[in-house]
């Protein structure tokens, strides 16, 4: 039996059908067609599926689709304003903080959550906050530089 779920994704009202065991990740990718959120493990260990659910950073592979009923979901697709990139996205590009890019959507969502919670993280705080987002390509160096630079720019803008 499938459940009918009404939710808001990136500001748009969205409805989908979902089995009781389907994850939010599955619903986003396969029912709503938002494939920017990635699956790297399906077990909460890689962070590629990171999204915001009612303002909290979650691994969407660990949340059930039905739990999105009546909530606000923010995914990577909602971070830029049309063609205008968010500062974090710009800094990731400027610092070459992605190689293959599969970890990037999750890292950008997590970085946004970090900087909302803590606008002036130390490098160590950033490294620990982002420890749930695996990147196999970069060795994290340029990612951390992008995050610290984005934090600077965002603080100046605020």
């Amino acid at each position: 039996m499938k459940t009918h779920v009404s939710t808001v994704v990136n500001g748009d009202a969205v409805e989908f059908l979902c089995s009781p065991s389907d994850t939010l990740l599955h619903a986003l990718r396969n029912e709503i067609g938002l494939t920017g959120t990635k699956e790297g493990c399906g077990s909460g260990d890689c962070g590629a599926c990171s999204v915001m659910l009612d303002g909290a950073l979650v691994c969407s592979c660990l949340v059930l689709g039905v739990e999105a009923q009546g909530s606000q979901v923010e995914t990577i697709e909602g971070i830029a304003h049309q063609d205008k990139l968010h500062v974090i996205q710009e800094k990731f590009l400027e610092h070459a903080a992605l190689q293959c890019g599969i970890c990037t959507p999750g890292l950008i969502v997590s970085t946004k959550a970090l900087l909302e919670e803590n606008p002036a993280p130390t490098e160590e705080e950033a490294r620990y906050y982002l420890a749930g987002n695996l990147c196999r390509c970069t060795g994290y160096d340029k990612i951390i530089k992008a995050v610290m630079d984005a934090a600077d720019v965002m603080r100046q803008g605020a």
Binding site: L85, A96, C100, E124, R136, Y140, K142
Partner: protein, 750 residues
């Protein structure tokens, strides 16, 4: 030559052209394509590490209303002895087929046996339970020692060791042996004042790309069948699938999706041929994905190894002899990277007498795949550890010892050619004067240093550049972009054409829209595909000159072309690239440049890494305090992505050295098949990774490029291993230096 050249774009840090899509979630990776009418495939995997399949009954699954097709090994039409004998199929086709769907035996836990396609993912998974398999369970062979001992259970009843001095008389788990030598190894050791001799081992590790394998396919009887997948080489996927399914190359079109990491692990096929069989049988498009667990259990890994190394030197540090015996685990089927291991192990050294032998050993683990400089990290780990031990016994600085014996232009390699200009000495000198090496070591810390070598390759690449009537254009290439290569293609073309990089759009075309390109691997893309881009752009420059000449009514020799503008040498007329394009209608139509090349002259890349660590005596946990990667790039086209390659390779090597390993139960089940227990480095585990780009140009490339992708994973194993050994004051001979292992060593030391 190249050093003196001033560049407009090369060496800048431009924004990558595919960046916008990748930071906004628009880029489509392997699992992101769905087609109307698509059904889902799933794979039944072996619960045993080693067993005979005594019966396989899929009839119940086939009869289920949700199931549209079932596939087994019997569905490979062309995998038979006649095809191989007739030369229409490659010999290793048997292995590829039997790896993606087992034939009469299962050879590792997780080995694919049969596949079903059903209406939904869940229905496909459920239908797997309807397949009946009976097994005769055999002893699992899980280590090199177990595989080569007398009376070991055989994985392949007919496998005779290749490369023995006398032909093998009985089947064995040793697939092949090879040896390489130069000089006289015995004389070399006789001349030595001091000898270091030790055995080392490294574990099975995984490439650990974050994107699992996935594919969506559509079989088509009338047109080319389509395969969408993340791969380092879509032309190779096409070739392998065509052979397995007895199709012509033109009957298959492979579209390379964006690829979420590969590191060598996406240079073969797993799901693609199986999905195409299912699509053919069901008449529907089929999608298949691997779970992370499947990725660990049935793809990838890099070979575990055992190495014995013996080095002799004079008391002044002149090395007189280097000898090694290397064993590599191939996994379930022959073909470990023992060859490149033997070839690379001593290449950083200019030593007269060398002898290396290698063994390719099958064990009941997944078939090993390439992993960044395949074979080199294992071998050079052993060599570099031993060289560091030699330095400490001689009381010499490890950099000075290496400088005294460093390979340079003209050094005779053990595998054949003499080295051309190389940058090892430059890297060693850069290391010596680096802020890191000059810094004082923290208390209770250890410092390690190691060198590394990888050949790099060239090979076939094809590129077209089309110009539009307004002077913008597209670069049609066929090398999947795994880490920013579109950016360097764009920059190289822009440099030759004298236009802004952003006016040229690089496109990784499918197998129908560009001619053959070798797989992205061997650090070949920026070198070889880059060379094709340069030639295609030069082809355009010639055409632009000819078109301008026609417009001016002069000969092309009377036209010069510089920085995007054609100059009439016999007047002061000039035309920009865009103006020539706008008038192309009058001079014979629009302009395409092309190049199909087989690039020769790949330049080897050497690296030197420095590492400081601290080991917690209570827990055995190692902290990397400082790390510097120094490497010869020849010429860094996009320095940020070059640094990124150094850093990524270094961190994969740090993971290999400190934590990563496949842990097996006695019956051959991998016990840590997930990212929680197979722990790759996290952001919080690491310091900044400092980089120094050394540029000793490769004279065979127009801009001096050497490949940079692979060498970076070679030195860290010994750099970290030596640092740990210094920190705890005990020799390290086996990786990973995981906390329990170090704690045991520390306890024994007391």
């Amino acid at each position: 030559m190249s050093e003196a050249r001033e560049y407009q774009h090369i060496g800048q840090r431009t924004i990558r052209p595919d960046g916008f899509d990748k930071v906004t979630g628009k880029a489509n990776y392997g699992a992101d394509l769905s087609i109307p009418g698509m059904i889902w495939g799933a794979i039944l995997r072996s619960p045993h590490a080693h067993a005979k399949i005594t019966s396989l009954d899929v009839s119940e699954a086939e009869a289920h209303p949700d199931v549209f097709a079932v596939a087994t090994y019997q569905d490979f039409p062309s995998v038979n002895a006649e095809a191989v004998a007739a030369g229409t199929a490659r010999k290793d086709l048997f292995d590829t087929a039997a790896n993606v769907l087992a034939d009469t035996k299962v050879l590792y836990h997780g080995h694919a046996i049969a596949a079903v396609a059903a209406r939904t993912e869940a229905a496909a998974q459920a239908a797997l339970e309807l397949i009946q398999v009976a097994y005769e369970v055999l002893d699992p062979v899980l280590t090199i020692d177990a595989a080569i001992k007398d009376g070991a259970a055989l994985l392949h009843d007919n496998m005779m060791t290749q490369g023995l001095l006398e032909p093998a008389s009985a089947a064995s788990n040793i697939a092949a042996r090879m040896e390489l030598k130069k000089g006289d190894i015995d004389l070399g050791f006789e001349a030595a004042d001091i000898i270091v001799e030790r055995s080392y081992e490294t574990p099975t590790v995984h490439q650990g790309y974050i994107e699992p394998h996935a594919t969506t396919v559509r079989f088509d009887d009338n047109g080319p069948s389509m395969i969408w997948c993340p791969t380092q080489g879509h032309f190779d996927v096409r070739a392998r699938v065509a052979q397995l399914l007895n199709m012509e190359l033109g009957q298959i079109k492979v579209v390379a999706s964006e690829i979420g990491g590969g590191f060598g692990g996406k240079t073969t096929v797993y799901l693609e041929p199986v999905a195409l069989i299912l699509s053919k049988k069901s008449g529907r498009p089929v999608k298949m994905t691997m779970s992370r667990e499947d990725v660990f259990r049935a793809s990838g890994p890099a070979s575990a190894s055992q190495s014995k190394v013996k080095i002799g030197a004079k008391s002044d540090g002149t090395i007189t002899a280097m000898q090694a015996s290397l064993h590599y685990e191939a996994g379930a089927f022959k073909g470990s990277p023992m060859g490149p291991g033997c070839m690379t192990i001593f290449t950083p050294y200019d030593v007269e007498n060398m002898y290396v032998e290698g063994f390719d050993v099958v064990v009941n683990k997944p078939k090993a795949a390439a992993y960044r400089a395949p074979g080199a990290p294992q071998a050079e780990f052993a060599a570099e550890m031993a060289v560091n031990e030699l330095a400490s016994k001689l009381g010499m600085d490890p950099i000075d010892l290496r400088l005294k014996n460093a390979a340079k232009e003209g050094t005779q390699t053990i595998y054949g050619p003499k080295l051309k200009t190389v940058g090892l000495e430059a890297c060693l000198l850069a290391a010596k004067s680096s802020p890191h090496y000059q810094s004082t070591l923290q208390e209770n810390a250890g410092r390690g240093l190691a060198a590394g070598f990888w050949f790099n390759i060239g090979g076939q690449s094809s590129v077209m550049i089309h110009l539009n009537p307004d002077g913008t254009g597209s670069i049609i290439e066929g090398s999947p972009d795994i880490g920013g290569s579109r950016a360097s293609m764009q920059m190289m073309a822009a440099e030759v054409l004298g236009v802004s990089p952003s006016t040229l759009n690089p496109i990784v075309a499918d197998t129908e829209h560009v001619a053959y390109n070798q797989t992205t691997g061997g650090s070949r893309t920026t070198f070889a595909t880059g060379m094709a881009v340069i030639e295609a752009a030069e082809d355009i420059v010639d055409q632009l000159k000819a078109r301008a000449a026609e417009l001016w009514n002069v000969t092309p020799e009377q036209v010069d072309y510089k920085n995007g503008v054609a100059y009439n040498l016999s007047s002061d007329e000039r035309l920009s690239l865009a103006e020539i394009c706008a008038k192309a209608e009058k001079t014979g139509g629009q302009i395409t440049g092309r190049a199909n090349i087989n690039a020769r002259g790949a330049g080897p890349s050497f690296a030197v890494h420095l590492c400081d660590v601290q080991v917690d005596p209570e827990t055995g946990k190692t902290d990397v305090l400082r790390y510097t990667a120094i490497q010869d790039a020849g010429k860094a086209i996009h320095p940020s992505y070059v640094e990124g390659q150094f850093q990524g390779g270094a961190v994969q090597g740090i993971g290999w050295a400190l934590n990563e390993e496949y842990v097996y139960s006695a019956d051959g089940v991998m016990e840590n098949a997930g990212f929680l227990d197979y722990r790759i480095p996290l952001a919080s585990d690491l310091p900044e990774i400092e980089t120094i780009i050394v540029e000793v140009p490769n004279s065979f490339h127009p801009f001096g490029v050497r490949g940079v992708g692979e060498t970076g994973i070679v030195p860290p194993l010994a750099a970290v291993g030596t640092a740990v050994s210094e920190a705890i004051g005990l020799p390290i001979t086996s990786l990973p230096c995981s906390p329990p292992k170090l704690l045991e060593l520390i306890m024994k030391r007391g």
